[in-house]
Symmetry: C2
Subunit: 389 residues, 2 copies
């Protein structure tokens, strides 16, 4: 998609929904010398980051959930799901996929999956009304009962609409109706700022996110966690249907299984600085406590949304009760003009990207460091000044 080039300034306060601002610790970790990707130091760092990812998702080591960290943007998460879970032999009729769509990113996930489906299978979708995650339960049950679905995808937060899906509700319906179906979460704008507790909410099979969102690192990593039954499916049952190298998890999972045991293994050179920065960022997140971090994002988001709606009398793209907590999408008159004015005030916000309302709204990111030091208050003041002007 062609986008407007924001007129930013290097001194500006970055308040887009990713890349987000880095903490000083993370930025310092990024600017370190290269080290051997098979040396003791890096091996220990990678192990540490992988173990922390298990903690982030609240799963015990012994439960066998396998975390992964791969050099790429978060977009590759869609390919990891398509290539490893949906690919099948041409005679297999069981590899259908169902996408629960809440915006631009769910739609892209849907299109990406289509290109991995065999002739005998379909990729279906259920689209929630704009700004909600109201998936009709009867329709969902009917669909899941109509044929065998290999997987269902849920975009936990769609970054295009700032809409949050209530996983507790949806996951239960899927599990009850079709327990063999893999439940896949696109957690790109949720992991690290929304509740995604795999220890508490059982049944989630695959989560991926990107490093530059609420994880608080620079862009360049796709990371996540995979349930034991999906690890087994990829490494055994489906291994011969998976194509290529880089998006092929039969290449990557043994690397993760090795590093998590503090043993180097080579498939492709890992981005040593980014993984070091990830490890530092995850340390900070776990030190703060995931529950507390999620609560703080919720509380700050609630404050901001309340001010926008009640004080500035603006309308949100997300309907009440469906708002994500790491970003806010706000309808405004002439978004391009407003972004320019706010930019002149030293704050970088993002434009709209949902095709139906692209030129009617702006997006404000409030993840990680940005909610800690008065940045969001500055955004509110700048919006107030420029909207009321």
């Amino acid at each position: 998609m062609t986008v407007a080039t924001d007129n930013d300034d290097l001194q500006s306060t970055l308040m887009i929904p990713g890349p987000i601002r880095l903490s000083t610790d993370v930025q310092n970790a990024l600017g370190t010398p290269s080290i051997s990707h098979t040396g003791t130091h890096f091996t220990k760092t990678f192990q540490s980051a992988l173990l922390k990812l298990q903690k982030l998702f609240n799963v015990e080591e012994k439960e066998g959930y396998l975390p992964f960290v791969i050099s790429s943007s978060g977009t590759m998460g869609w390919d990891l799901v398509g290539n490893n879970l949906l690919s099948s032999s041409d005679t297999d009729c069981n590899n259908n996929a169902l996408v629960l769509s809440t915006g631009f990113f769910s739609e892209s996930f849907y299109l990406c999956l289509q290109s991995y489906a065999s002739n005998k299978s379909t990729v279906d979708k259920i689209v929630a009304p704009l700004g909600t995650s109201d998936f009709d339960e009867a329709e969902l049950i009917a669909k899941l009962s109509s044929k065998k679905y290999r997987l269902v995808t849920i975009t936990h937060v769609d970054t295009s609409t700032a809409t949050l899906v209530d996983l507790n509700k949806v996951v239960k319906v899927i599990k009850d109706t079709s327990p063999s179906t893999f439940i896949v979460i696109d957690g790109v704008c949720s992991v690290g700022c929304e509740e995604l507790d795999l220890g508490k909410l059982k049944g989630i099979d695959f989560v991926f996110t990107a490093s530059q969102k609420a994880i608080g690192v620079a862009p360049g990593l796709c990371l996540g966690i995979i349930s034991p039954r999906v690890v087994d499916f990829i490494l055994n049952e489906n291994k011969n249907n998976i194509r290529g190298y880089y998006t092929n998890l039969t290449k990557w999972l043994p690397v993760m299984q090795s590093f998590i045991k503090n043993q180097a293994k080579y498939f492709a050179t890992p981005p040593v600085q980014l993984i070091h920065a990830l490890n530092v960022s995850l340390s900070g997140i776990l030190k703060q406590g995931v529950t507390k971090r999620v609560e703080e994002h919720k509380s700050k988001s609630d404050w901001f949304k309340d001010k926008i709606v009640n004080d500035l009398k603006l309308k949100l793209v997300s309907q009440p009760g469906y708002g994500a907590h790491g970003l806010t999408a706000i309808y405004v008159n002439n978004p391009a003009e407003l972004l320019k004015k706010i930019g002149a005030d030293g704050i970088v916000l993002a434009g709209g990207i949902h095709k139906d309302i692209k030129d009617q709204y702006i997006r404000v990111g409030h993840m990680g460091v940005s909610i800690e030091n008065g940045d969001l208050e500055k955004v509110y003041e700048a919006l107030k000044k420029n909207v009321i002007q």
Copy 2:
């Protein structure tokens, strides 16, 4: 592949064939704040890096060679070739590939391509005798005349054997025998330290490399350049045969075409810090002059190889006249023991990875910063001390 975990030290001198040491400028560029991936600053930086890549390969802007930079390891280069050039409809018999193999990495390229070939096509290979790039010319001509090859791949330097391919010779044979065949160069251990001048040596269609080799950046980028006829083939003739998103160049090439004109375009969030670091590193390389840089690598490599062979009386894996200039592979007794001793002297070298001779040799990287400040001399002294001991 499971590898020995080197007992490195953060103060050690890193002399493996990638990741290589960073210059201070590049390291500083890496440790900078995140900025908007669609903002004026990043757009300008990305444009600048892309234009510099054209200069690195000595092609004029107007000739239409399209550079690309993607967040991933260099390994993804194989998938970019497989998915975009080799994929075809099942009835197409013209999508055969020929791999010219000089070691472990050529072999991996071969295996990766196989997984993209349709039922009607084959991936063939010609293997040069170990330590040489002696491809039998008659065999090459016979193969190329026997059926229609969509592409031939050449691993310019195979990092497993430190063997260099004489491109002038091979490219001419391919062009003369089968001019419609795309010539693909795996330049992972060559771009930035070996001569690869697309302005002088006409006929090369696709080159890729990784950021952590002679380009002098941290790991995390796959980058390269594509000829106009291959850009056209991907975006038009073959577009419907290319699967998925992340390794699908119909998604990426329009992004590169846009940024090179200083216009942001979104497909996946680019790694802003890594691209900033790339831009800084390319500035340094172009300032030095590519020809001069290649000569300096050659001269330092010749000096080192001469000392190893004539003073230390050790044997190289590469046969005389076939040695790469960014690394040296040396047969030694008990490599694991030697690497440990050298490690204790504060230098990190790499072990062998070619399956036939895996436990018989070591590898020394000498790319970029490492050849400028006496590091290779230190390696020689350490080898001398520990080999003669």
